[in-house]
Symmetry: none
């Protein structure tokens, strides 16, 4: 489709990237219900790897099947579908060209309790042979294994950009250096977004930040400059500003499954704060398909009208 | 977009290809006015390289500008735009994601009178960094330099397939082994299509065959089995059958510029014979833009209703 | 042999793979007594490496000889024979083409008590020069060395797939993060199967799961959704469902040597639960040859009639 | 299947080859109606490339379809099916594992009248990704482009052997250095077989030699040592002896289409002379399917009873 | 020289190896006093690296000179001389072709007290340029650095085999996972031999095993199956059986310097148990030359008459 004024504006923020990467960014932005709006709703399904099959799929057993998620992403009008190697290999041929794909290149399971550091489980070559528009990679700022992850993505992002792919970084503060309540603190979340941007991400995914300021040095600054953090919209606004003054696409995950009004409320705040969209896994594929389609439609509507 | 039954059928003819290549084939088939019909109209602009600028662009000086052709392909609803490296580099970022691109990897000029053999002027890596869906390559069966060309495409097609790209082969019989009237003879054209298919092409482009049977051994067979060659539709049908029994996408070039009724007549015959589409360069970009849009629209209509 | 409907169905689950890999998968499925049934019984002999020679071969000293196992696999009508480099090198020429081979690419000995992580002891190039149909690789989910293993198989599976080989992943939860009773818990086993599938395995091998739910978060889900785990058949069914809804080939190891009725009983449960077969090492090669042939025959009969 | 005494004997002639190559040789020898006899009947379909589509397929239009030939080779019980890249890519996934494949790595068309030298149109990597058991390559001893061809196969045969593939060389004397009647002369044919063996071929394909001695120096020797050349059986015997004293597999092509009794007569002579089999293209796929199956069955019977 | 029946039998155990590797194995077996007997006595001089110069060479200062060892190996009629890079570089030209050479590719010094893991100090390319017949490599099963060593030899053995070289693995159990008395226990030694064989070694070198059974699981098996371990001959017999049922060449080191009768007694036991030979460093080069020649001659006599 022809790119809208807004999509062209977003693409203009990445002038170092080759036309291949811009093309794939445009594919993400120009697909599905939100095509052309500059907003994105992405379906991610890496929970089978991250949490195990029963925890992920028992609530809606149709979701054990890899085809299910491709079809859900397509029918819901998502901008893209993101998953690890095995899930994409299972359906990428059957659904070729019907929804942009993001190959999650590293994944973690919850059997070993390690300092957070996902294993690299796919490659840029896999992303090309599977027809993906982007690679996805998780970093855990705050982990002692930080350098391993930052250095892995350094190599992969360089190769991805040379190959004309876009890059989405999941930036989740976590690790032995961070207390639990620091993981979603507003200062830490904004910091995590900044790091992902500095690593060269085109799209950054963070968790919705909470009204906590975790680092003492940050606290002083937030107070001195009266950075508002009361509402989620305030905090999203700060995260977006922290992502190169809004010149990087920042999207927010929904986190654990919750009830529909709570989700929609959160989405409204994200949209109000200038968030570029949502990535919504468990809250969509763990619902019965009809309910998931309805919810995703409602979420997209919110972003559309934001 | 969701693939139609027809598009899924066409993709099923390429079961050796990875999902990346199928995705890019789907992109060609699912874009523009003819999206989903299994038919293609492609805008090729390699004439600047092949014939020189004035011969190519003086009739419509706007066409000196690389942007012109991207915009024409987009506005006309073409399935793809094909050009050499320089032309694609000039506009691929600006028009990122708005029309599938085909990088012509070899090109010839008409300054040197050589045994026909284009120079390789781009690479698969270029195609990736420019966001192309396919590579394009010209072979001249009948040329004494045949082996050079077949061996160049052998290496590039292997790399393209591994990288998830589709391949379009322009197969134009030509060379010192072939008299002028052999170049578009029906037997020779069908043979040229077969060669491109055997080399592994996904899409084959040939010239509309004439009612001439050039090779003596072929003449015997055409007569013995009463293969119809009277009408262009008959001949297109034979070329399509010669392309793996219709299981490869064969499209036809318009050749030199001619008047509109002649063109539309030819298109009707191609469509009636089961041709998968047209590739239309000089007949579109050498006309004023409005006329070109009108003509391309009329051509697409014919294929749509075939 | 011609592929049966069932074999064609199984191959259809791997649409991202090239025809070479599908050919080698078909070789595994179309060989031996169970040819064409979609079931597999594989003879694995890596115990010499894993447990030492006397513990492995003293019960049946003929088994010290590498030729013995090739001949046993052939005469028993197994679908394949799996072993480390040395054992395959010793017999692959003599028995060329008589039974599909799987090269175990990593192995562990029990002299060092390390955090579980096998050493890579062979390569994809070895698999090709020895005429193997597949590579085999062991991962230990739950080990702190998880990332090392997942990243080794990532590279090898990509090379194997490009070379037209199939991949079998042995997925055995183990390591300092996992208590002994967690290793064969149903939730952990299903999770281990899911991980192997997400890493891109064509065939997954796990241990028969026990009626234990190890992870607290999993326990809640198993209870809430009343996932049956009473019988081994129930548990096998859950593992198969957890393997891409039954669209990956999951086979079960027999584990330590036991008496014949106990083995056959276990096999009946595996078959009843929809397991695709068994991999049976010590229980076959540690018996006298005649008894091993009888037992393997009985096992195959159970799968044949399932 | 288990290899027969005869197959094991044949494999013992190639002791420099790794088990992978022996495995693929065994696959050729252990498949189809002649499995285990040490004889081979191979279906080759490169005529679409070599002679053009109408000349090849018009006599039996079902043969325009690539699937047709896979099915014919399977149903006829041929040992293998040989074709160029495009034809194999079209069906290798659908018929995965059902018949050994040989990828013809070089091909020639008859549009250009060049000094005989086929173009390299595929690679060993293609053979691996398509699941082939062997590569095929044509040399034209007597051509001025001899060195090009011998040097191309030198590189490809080395790579094929390292990758565990077998190699079939088509050795057809031809070129400006050879008069027409020399091409199938007994001395020249035996010489062509010797050259293919010296280049490292596992299987050599030549044309049935005629009772002509072409080279003057050869004539003296044939006379002095009274080498019999009267009957085709005599001449086949000399070619087989010339192929490392019968320790290379030499098979014979049928050449142009002819009537059934003539074919069967020729086959009887080839079998009587110790030929290892036939490669039969036009005489099979240009007949209606039923007649082709009947003829191939009769041919196999002759070899079986030889 | 012509290979004896016995040498041909030994070579037949390595059917996966190319003729180059077999040629180099034959060189080891067909050189020196024991040529053709299938027995080997090898002179290894890596003590300069492993223990330091004075500890190694002060007892017989002539041995400081690299030439000394070449000459000793030649004059004593050893099958081969094994040493690290520097020693071989010093004499390989001068003694070119006079004695088969083995390049020890990894070495350890005793300055650092590390978890046992030798450094890779040479390459297969060095072995080729120095005219070696084999590479040598030390592994320490039981070391926590096990994976590093197994993975290093994996790569080097693949390259060595492709280059036509033979491989000798020194397999010395050692490391923090193993108590001192486990290092030469019969179960551990047999296990170490098995591991070397599974890694693809042609020749395995272990220490003479002691009448200790170290692993509890092994103890049960040795008792249950009444595996004799009383005499060294018994134990050597078990190690040989554990080396692919005697189908790998296993030789024994003499260990630390001792008196002549003790040495000869040990050798008699090794020979009686079916050991293939000895590798004798300090016990030869630390004696005056005449005594060394006498001792080596006596040792060879024992093997000759075994």
């Amino acid at each position: 489709m022809k790119s809208t004024e807004r999509v062209r504006q977003i693409l203009s923020w990445y002038p170092s990237d080759n036309p291949g990467t811009l093309t794939n960014l445009a594919r993400l932005l120009n697909h599905g219900t939100l095509a052309g709006t500059g907003k994105l709703v992405i379906l991610p399904v890496d929970q089978g790897f991250e949490h195990g099959p029963a925890r992920s799929f028992a609530p809606n057993p149709a979701a054990y099947d890899p085809d299910y998620h491709f079809q859900l992403a397509i029918d819901a009008g998502c901008n893209a579908y993101a998953a690890p190697l095995g899930f994409l290999e299972a359906g990428a041929a059957k659904f070729a060209g019907q929804v942009p794909l993001i190959l999650k290149l590293n994944n973690s399971d919850s059997l070993a309790k390690l300092e957070p550091c996902s294993a690299v489980t796919g490659s840029v070559k896999d992303a090309l042979r599977l027809g993906c528009s982007a690679i996805g990679f998780t970093i855990y700022p705050g982990s002692s294994a930080r350098n391993t992850m930052y250095e892995e993505i350094r190599e992969m992002i360089l190769e991805a950009k040379a190959s004309g792919l876009a890059t989405v970084i999941w930036s989740y503060p976590r690790g032995s250096n961070l207390a639990k309540d620091g993981e979603q603190a507003i200062d830490v979340t904004a910091y995590a977004a900044q790091i992902a941007c500095q690593l060269g991400a085109h799209v950054v995914k963070v968790k919705p930040p909470k009204d906590i300021i975790y680092q003492d040095e940050a606290k002083k600054v937030f107070e001195k400059y009266a950075i508002p953090t009361k509402t989620l919209a305030d905090r999203v606004r700060h995260v977006v500003q922290s992502s190169f003054n809004g010149k990087r696409v920042v999207i927010f995950s929904g986190g654990e499954a919750k009830d529909t009004p709570a989700i929609l409320d959160e989405i409204k705040q994200i949209a109000a704060g200038g968030g570029f969209g949502s990535i919504m896994g468990r809250n969509s594929f763990q619902r019965p398909r009809d309910e998931a389609l309805k919810l995703l439609g409602d979420v997209m509507n919110i972003f559309k009208n934001a």
